[in-house]
Subunit: 413 residues, 2 copies
């Protein structure tokens, strides 16, 4: 008998038929004798609808009331799935964040989990009750509702798995695992049987949408075993592991792309030693995170600064940047939305100069010009124009030998 | 400075535009210097949608999970209205039932309020914060969500007004007050400036939809001053008072009609002394309430039983009645859905034999046949066929002199 946390995302519970199907998946696991805690997202589309209401009443900032409105979606799903499980003869009940409770800090819309009381859930498990926990939500120390940010139900699931010392956390979604690249853009994309936490973290952070980066970080931190699999059809999923059991011939595990970034260029900024820090801090105060920050060498005491930030934050960032332009007195502020970030992810990448060379040569030979480059221990990201997304993914997928299905069999869990 | 509870129903908060309008109504009251507690229903249509989901997963009974699903609608509205108020420069925050808390018994779907802690809300009022309380919901002593039954937000509002010793509870709805009959069916229907609790209770119980009967009962019990008025246009509403200040020429205050009843006939039931009790108890065990129960005199040891019950309960009642047919061994079980209950409401009615005579003569002279009759201190109800609804309402409205607007001016608050 094992203890599993099963998490079902928005498309998995999009309507009553899907909910019923999910209930049957849970039943199978229950009948196999496992202890189960289920975590659910809002039904697909509901959160967007609720965001729409809240934004049309208060478009310019996020308040704690946004969290009250948004968290209701998960409440509905938890109640409905508990109903569906009960109909199948199981004993189940819904749990809202305040009932567990799941305690967070009081950062509205982006709260972080501080503590999960497991006593109630442990009692459920002992009594053979399957708790269905509403994901994405928490309460702060003032007993007010908070939410964990988009995709926060993954975080709820991983945090519960850690707190309950679950044997594994299964993330059910609408794809059957983690691919070497987006299968809609790369015909030869291959499902990975295993991927390391670190690689998965980069893949998620760089735009692979199967898992939220924060939940991978949390899983890594607490050594929670993760599996990504489909609630739509039966197939082996992808296991996120500490070390890959079989080292593949190439260190590259996949290529992610993120079209939701904008490139900001500040031109002719008088050089100051803390220039980057100033810009970074100003944006961070408004919870806008900057990525791919690059500063040119000073010419005549002036530098150019390039950085990317999430498209969703652009509206809030623009007045801040215009204010900075007045304060720092620089000539141009350019905003380019026609960019995509392509990231090649794999362990030990930085030490392998061959990969960078391969990357640049391949892109150049296909007339793909690179606007920005950043590297880390396990990823290398380039910024290119949007219309070259599919071309770049495919040529890189080929040059790094990611296609082919044979290796996958050996790697499947 | 007065303290008011303002309650806004589903059509008053049906969309973002209406919510914004409601926020302005609240602002007007706040600027007049009043202390305000706001109670909201779910946006019109939402509750039905949620009921639809829950019923398709679990059609045959109501469980605590139905309450979890349904109560989310009011959560959304409370968050949105608090947002809208904040946008208008007021200080506001949402309150869910568990945050107040509003404690109920653990009767799922039909919980009754046991206790309201006012400490949090009093603190809000002292600090100039306008709390927006989610109506319809409560928590039981196990800290699980409960709901108060359809229209339960009225009950929340009245209960809060009682607990907070409010000067008045204003129920904003899509009509501008209580009418002598449904204005859509009776052209001469007249808005009442005042109506007594007892009359309002009967009007509500007999189908006038402006207020839930239970909330009127609660208002009567705790002497909460009620006002019914429109959130759609400015007009004097109807005050629900202990005694009407001006006695009108007729004792009849209005005529209600309820088309959502079915007539059950059990034919040839062997007479037993506790027959009515048996039937009543069996249905009550399943929380089906029987109305207009009439038993014929025994002929050859057998009786006929006629009673009405809510159409919504028919599906659950039918198997119980069929079971009773087997146990009690009677010949026929008839179910007639083509009925409407017409109720004439007014103080001191039973003592005035003229009214009953007038009622029967008027209906008879218009070929309206009466299937059942029941009377109480302040109402007289008849069951007739549905297609004669408008005819019956109009001829009774005329014969009891309910039309005309002059008297209304004198009665307006």
């Amino acid at each position: 008998m094992a203890r599993y946390v099963l998490k079902f995302g928005g498309t998995s519970v999009a309507n009553v038929t899907r909910l019923h199907h999910v209930a049957n998946l849970v039943k199978e696991q229950a009948e196999a004798g496992h202890e189960l805690v289920v975590v659910v997202s809002a039904m697909a589309g509901i959160t967007n609808e609720l965001v729409g209401y809240a934004q049309s009443l208060c478009p310019d900032k996020l308040t704690p009331e946004h969290d009250v409105v948004l968290s209701s979606g998960e409440q509905v799903t938890s109640g409905l799935l508990a109903l569906a499980l009960t109909r199948l003869g199981l004993i189940s009940r819904s749990y809202l964040a305040w009932q567990v409770p799941i305690v967070t800090d009081d950062n509205p819309s982006q709260a972080r989990i501080l503590k999960i009381e497991t006593e109630q859930l442990e009692r459920c498990l002992k009594q053979g009750i399957i708790p269905v926990v509403a994901g994405f939500q928490g309460i702060n120390d003032q007993l007010r509702l908070t939410t964990l940010g988009r995709g926060g139900s993954d975080t709820t699931a991983v945090a519960l798995a850690a707190a309950l010392k679950a044997d594994r956390c299964d993330i059910y979604t609408d794809v059957d695992g983690v691919y070497t690249a987006d299968p809609r853009l790369v015909a030869n994309a291959r499902k990975l049987g295993q991927i390391t936490y670190a690689e998965m973290f980069e893949m998620a952070a760089q735009g692979a949408k199967v898992l939220q980066a924060r939940s991978v970080e949390l899983a890594l931190k607490h050594r929670v075993k993760l599996r990504v699999l489909s609630s739509f059809f039966k197939a082996s999923g992808t296991d996120i592991v500490e070390e890959r059991k079989f080292v593949e011939s190439t260190q590259i595990s996949g290529i992610a792309h993120n079209p939701h970034e904008v490139l900001i260029t500040l031109k002719g900024v008088p050089h100051q030693i803390d220039l980057m820090a100033q810009i970074f801090n100003r944006l961070a105060q408004h919870r806008i995170s900057v990525d791919m920050l690059v500063q040119t060498h000073a010419v005549n005491g002036k530098v150019d600064l390039n950085f990317t930030l999430p498209q969703a934050d652009l509206e809030r960032a623009q007045p801040l940047l215009e204010q900075l332009q007045k304060e720092l007195i620089f000539s141009n502020l350019d905003i380019d939305q026609d960019v995509v970030k392509i990231s090649v992810v794999g362990i030990g990448m930085r030490s392998n100069l061959e990969i960078g060379r391969n990357l640049f040569n391949t892109l150049a030979s296909h007339q793909i010009s690179v606007r920005l480059l950043t590297t880390s221990e396990i990823k290398m990201s380039v910024l290119i124009t949007k219309q070259q997304t599919a071309l770049a993914l495919n040529v890189l997928h080929e040059v790094f030998n990611l296609e082919g299905g044979d290796k996958e069999c050996a790697l499947s869990a």
